[in-house]
């Protein structure tokens, strides 16, 4: 997806390259032939019969470009129905593995995720923590997505079944049903969920505000509802990896199907899941809570990067941005 997005960006960003194509394509052929970005674009097309009509486009890296309508290309397949989105992808059980020994805290996964989901910078669906469990222990980085728990505390407490567990293990939020009670935020022990406190900003609304919604892609977001990491199920349906996995330059994140017993990282290295977990003494976060996360961690043994700088944390603590906790004894 990341690559494809880049392509779109280029298409939109450098009109000269596409000048030939623009002249070539006919308006009618364009609308008919594409599974289009969304109602808004369709509407623009319908309203403006002129071929060269300019419009603003938000690219995957959050920049706004001006482009003519007929430069736009398919970039998202039509979302699946709500019923299907609630059921999940048949015969799959998705898992994620983080190899902490390789994570250098660059936060590229967060960036990739934010691009993919048009999130504002303060909302990190996958967040990289700087951890220092105890004085004598080594500091390390801990990227944390939603754990898509098998015994999720969040879905249990939702009064309207707006957040639900699917057959393929993924936990999603249906923001067309969510009433915004934030019970799930209180219940999730991993502080994974984010609330849309205000209207999504106008750039975002212009770009994706009228996409057809499906819980699988989590956008367009709506004020007063909850959102969180969704394991990019729309990508999975296309047989692609979640944005954070492909976005990680250090090959930290492995993703795959437990039924197939295989996980793959960004460089395409595929390993046998069960063996991988066993041989590397994998563990899960806060195992004692019984939430049964679907995300595993390999301990930060033999780090391949310089240790995190703890001074930063000290500084943050002073600025009150950072409430630190001694995390020792939390991981059993």
């Amino acid at each position: 997806m990341a690559e494809e997005n880049n392509k779109n960006e280029n298409n939109a960003g450098t009109p000269s390259e596409n000048a030939g194509r623009r002249n070539f394509l006919k308006y009618g052929a364009l609308t008919a032939g594409l599974t289009l970005v969304g109602g808004s674009l369709l509407k623009v097309f319908a309203d403006n019969k002129e071929q060269g009509e300019k419009m603003k486009v938000l690219s995957s890296d959050g920049k706004v470009y001006e482009a003519t309508c007929n430069q736009l290309q398919e970039f998202r397949p039509a979302p699946v129905s709500n019923a299907e989105a609630r059921k999940g992808i048949p015969n799959k059980k998705f898992v994620m593995v983080f190899d902490l020994s390789k994570c250098d805290g660059c936060k590229k996964c967060t960036e990739a995720c934010q691009k993919m989901h048009y999130t504002e910078s303060d909302r990190e669906w996958i967040k990289v923590f700087t951890m220092h469990d105890a004085k004598a222990e080594a500091p390390y980085y801990l990227p944390k997505p939603c754990f898509h728990c098998d015994n999720p505390t969040c879905t249990k407490v939702c009064p309207v079944n707006a957040t639900f567990k699917r057959e393929d293990g993924i936990v999603l939020v249906d923001n067309e049903r969510c009433i915004g009670c934030r019970m799930c935020m209180a219940a999730c022990p991993y502080s994974t969920r984010f609330f849309n406190w205000s209207h999504p900003n106008s750039d975002q609304t212009a770009a994706i505000g009228n996409l057809p919604y499906s819980p699988e892609q989590s956008v367009p977001r709506r004020m007063g509802t909850v959102e969180k990491c969704d394991f990019c199920p729309d990508m999975l349906r296309q047989g692609k990896m979640p944005a954070c996995v492909t976005g990680c330059p250090m090959d930290v994140i492995y993703f795959g199907d437990q039924n197939e017993d295989a996980v793959t990282n960004a460089s395409g290295v595929t390993v046998k899941l069960s063996q991988f977990l066993e041989q590397n003494a994998a563990y899960r976060q806060l195992e004692e809570l019984g939430t049964e996360p679907r995300v595993y961690y390999l301990p930060p043994k033999n780090r391949k990067y310089p240790a995190p700088d703890l001074k930063n944390i000290e500084k943050e603590k002073k600025e009150k941005k950072h409430i630190d906790m001694d995390m020792s004894s939390m991981q059993m």
Partner: protein, 483 residues
């Protein structure tokens, strides 16, 4: 004393009582108008703020992703807690046949009703999408503690409405009948209202019988419902894994806290109506002394609950819980926490243990502290836990890692409080604030007791005489007439 005289006495007393009770419903003084006016201003401003919140989202409040519940949910817990007052005073004291309850049942039941109304809307104010509230009906799932809340609060609301209304029926009939003689504004409306609410009450024997029977049933039903309400309110916290909420004593802790803050508020209500509506004759220092004892007992139980809630985890200091407790005991919340514990536990016990402390003024002051403290305590239950999640809070905007309610939340909450006062004021301007017939019954019983004592004395005197003059006439025994 002569029996005839006594009957006249009772009649007079009852007449005076009725007069005293109905008088406030006939006047509408300048002060009342100003009071209602200012309440309306507060409510208006609160409404404006709420509409602002509706349009711009909950982002206009101080809540952010870590502290995702704030003042609204604390207020919800507090108001629902207050609503236990009615059950306590009316039902528990009724069932244990405490005679002194009679003049205060109405205000307690009213408090229950009103605080339930305004407590119940707090979570709706707190909703991100109140427009989708019907999803609760369309897609409601029984697993969710929130649904338990809705069910039990609705049940309690219906129950307490009936519980408030039932003993009002004879009084409504009284109002209806008395209205004709006196001259009042809105006479037509009032006549219609009283007639409607009296639902054809004539005071026949069978009507009394039915009323008493229904009251007994309601009394028995309402107690477990009330207990269930605050238990499930505590479950929205206790059913999570969060440090500070993940506690097995939360149910009883909340129930006791509710009863105790509720009865303190009843005292405040009693004192206010006594003063404003000149009911000194009926609500006496003795009543304050007795209900003071009840609050004292509840405070002691509450203190015991606090011990369990804080001492057990504080002894163990498990990681996440330990961080929370450190923050409460010696960190950023320590001032609020210890002031609260001192003001709502130690101080009330110290004051109310002495008969002098149960005099009206010190008692009212204590109760104000208890009520305010209970509110702060709810806040201290909700907010610090949210600021101490399992995962550390790192690199977030400064507004996320701290919380103090902002003007929107304060305004909306103040409007709800003003709403409570407004409904109580309007109610007291329409209906008698004491259950007239219950107090009448009390007077009767009191007189009957006196009669029995006198009778016994007379008999003893007669017997003594008889011993001396064996041929004296026997005194015909006097039978007690209840009606």
């Amino acid at each position: 004393m002569n029996l005839e005289n006594e009957k006249i006495d009772i009649k007079n007393e009852i007449e005076i009582l009725r007069e005293d009770c109905l008088r406030p419903t006939r006047t509408f003084s300048r002060n009342t108008q100003i009071w209602i006016g200012s309440l309306l201003v507060i409510i208006g401003w609160g409404l404006y703020c709420y509409i602002h919140q509706l349009r711009q989202g909950l982002g206009v409040t101080a809540m952010r992703n870590y502290v995702s519940w704030g003042l609204y949910i604390s207020t919800f817990v507090f108001f629902i807690g207050i609503s236990h007052s009615g059950t306590l005073v009316s039902a528990i004291l009724r069932i244990t046949k405490q005679e002194w309850r009679r003049p205060i049942t109405r205000s307690a039941e009213l408090l229950t009703f009103v605080s339930l109304c305004f407590g119940g809307i707090q979570p709706i104010i707190d909703l991100g999408r109140p427009d989708r509230i019907f999803n609760l009906v369309l897609f409601g799932r029984l697993q969710s503690p929130l649904i338990w809340d809705i069910i039990s609060i609705c049940t309690y609301f219906c129950g307490s409405t009936v519980f408030l209304f039932l003993p009002m029926i004879p009084d409504m009939a009284l109002c209806r009948d008395k209205l004709v003689v006196c001259d009042t504004r809105y006479k037509k409306f009032k006549k219609w209202l009283y007639t409607f609410m009296a639902i054809g009450w004539k005071g026949t024997k069978s009507q009394w019988h039915r009323l008493e029977k229904t009251m007994t049933i309601m009394t028995i039903i309402i107690i477990p419902v009330a207990v269930s309400v605050h238990t499930v309110v505590s479950y929205i916290f206790a059913m999570t894994l969060r440090p500070g909420w993940d506690s097995t004593v939360f149910g009883p802790y909340f129930v006791v806290g509710a009863l105790y803050s509720g009865s303190a508020c009843v005292i405040l209500g009693m004192a206010a109506f006594r003063k404003l509506y000149h009911l000194e004759k009926y609500i006496t220092p003795r009543h304050f002394d007795l209900i003071g004892r009840v609050v004292l007992a509840l405070t002691l139980i509450y203190a015991y609950m606090n011990l369990n809630e804080y001492w057990i985890p504080a002894y163990k200091m498990a990681t996440a819980e330990g961080h929370l407790l450190n923050d409460l005991f010696s960190g950023s919340y320590s001032t609020a926490f210890w002031t609260c514990q001192f003001g709502t536990v130690l101080l009330p016990i110290l004051i109310m243990s002495f008969p002098k402390g149960r005099k009206i003024t010190p008692l009212v002051i204590t109760c104000i502290i208890i009520a305010a403290g209970a509110w702060v305590k709810r806040y201290l239950i909700v907010v610090p836990t949210l600021l101490h999640p399992f995962m550390p809070i790192q690199e977030v905007p400064g507004t996320w890692s701290t919380y103090f309610p902002n003007y929107v939340e304060f305004s909306v909450t103040a409007a709800c409080l003003a709403g409570i006062f407004l409904v109580i004021t309007l109610f007291s301007k329409l209906f008698p604030m004491m259950a007239v017939w219950e107090v009448e019954e009390g007077i009767q019983i009191e007189h009957d007791k006196q009669a029995v004592i006198e009778l016994r004395e007379q008999r003893e005197v007669a017997e003594a005489k008889q011993m001396k003059e064996p041929k004296a006439k026997l005194i015909t025994p006097i039978t007690n007439t209840n009606n």
